[in-house]
Symmetry: C2
Subunit: 231 residues, 2 copies
Amino acid sequence: MVSEKTVERLSLYRRILQQLRVEGKETIMSHELANILHIKPAQVRRDIMQLGYSGIPNSGYRIRPLLESIANFLDSPLPQSAVLVGVGHLGLALLANFAGRWRQLAIRAAFDKDPAKIGQTFHGCRCYAMSDLSKIIAETKSVVGILAIPGEGAQSVCDLLVQSGVSGILNFSPLRIKVPDNVFVEHVDLSATFEKVSFFARRMKLYSEEEKWKVENETTEGEYETLTTNQ
Amino acid sequence: MVSEKTVERLSLYRRILQQLRVEGKETIMSHELANILHIKPAQVRRDIMQLGYSGIPNSGYRIRPLLESIANFLDSPLPQSAVLVGVGHLGLALLANFAGRWRQLAIRAAFDKDPAKIGQTFHGCRCYAMSDLSKIIAETKSVVGILAIPGEGAQSVCDLLVQSGVSGILNFSPLRIKVPDNVFVEHVDLSATFEKVSFFARRMKLYSEEEKWKVENETTEGEYETLTTNQ
DNA sequence: TTTTACTTGTGAAATATTGAACAAATTTAT
DNA sequence: ATAAATTTGTTCAATATTTCACAAGTAAAA
């Protein structure tokens, strides 16, 4: 019933509001959040509406209870656990950023097929053998699996995760994995993203040069028009 | 005129087609690509239509010229350069995966404020001081900047990148940066993504349990209905 | 107290994206 | 050569998402 985009934005609102509260701010208006995120105020209001929280006309939203509403909506009563598969460069970066720091989704275990890594601890997270996957997922009650491996093995690892009871997968591999209907997958495809940015960067450059050209010639056209139609 | 989503998918088609060509496949049909990506065949055809390339009814698309059309559409005549700002864990992971390997968008230089990193080479990419940013961007003719730094400095670094002539930014920082209209920004917000996956994972679990409950009771309801309405 | 100015909540319009469906085209089989 | 089967290109419908616009409400000012 609630869209993915709304959930993403609620997460952004929370992060901003937490910061603002630290700075001593007590209320916020939809257009302030909108300006920070470069979206429209109506979007902010509509998202917040879905929380069931009401603001005060002419004053905005009180930050404290709004944060509570967001937490109530987004967060599980109990903190949730995740496991990471693939302790390569990307996996390590994820552990460095999210191993302990994140209250809501803590990465509790890592897995790799490289025997040299098994048994080691990376950024406070222990690395296990792939054969321990099911057992550890059950022990940690993990609901999310993070795939940070090259495409080849992704589908079989994914199947293993699903069999072990995971209901969400964050897939950094370039492969589009197949999962049952009752499992959520988010693809983060860095090389596709790179290509996209590269494409639009070039396009923006071309576009702005074309605009520049237009503006240069518009003056002439404008003069011509005022001379002839003189409206 | 072409949407971001279409560009992303074209990039995915290319990667798949390149693999299939290596495996000796010469033609492909829209429903094959669609099955691999879990989308509808009409979507594939529509995307390919935008390239101006035509398939053959009852045979599908010839892979070789289709790949050429995609390259023609997505790629710049000259390979494009990018610079990376922030050689932390994430920056290193990006360098490891994309420093040399990527024909289309090569990361040509890295920057960091940590003096210990300046002058070093990471995965074949040299790290410079922030003060060299403009100079190096000009020298390498970079069109894309990659921000892999914490939120605090993101806006000022972004402004620097834009001033230096970059027209695309790939932002891994949690800050929503502000850029002129003629600069393209893609946000990859890992913590928001984590929260999203966590949210929907929980929701999927709840939903599938509810479904299970329904199915268990449906039998009874079904029997009841056949007994009463007997349609 | 009354007025003014401003903000929320939300229906309705606008826009963007996807999906269904079918004519036209082409290959294969008869 | 003809018919049957299948796939493309594309239009139109369906769905999803965003934006507009305004009534209703509230605080501050007069």
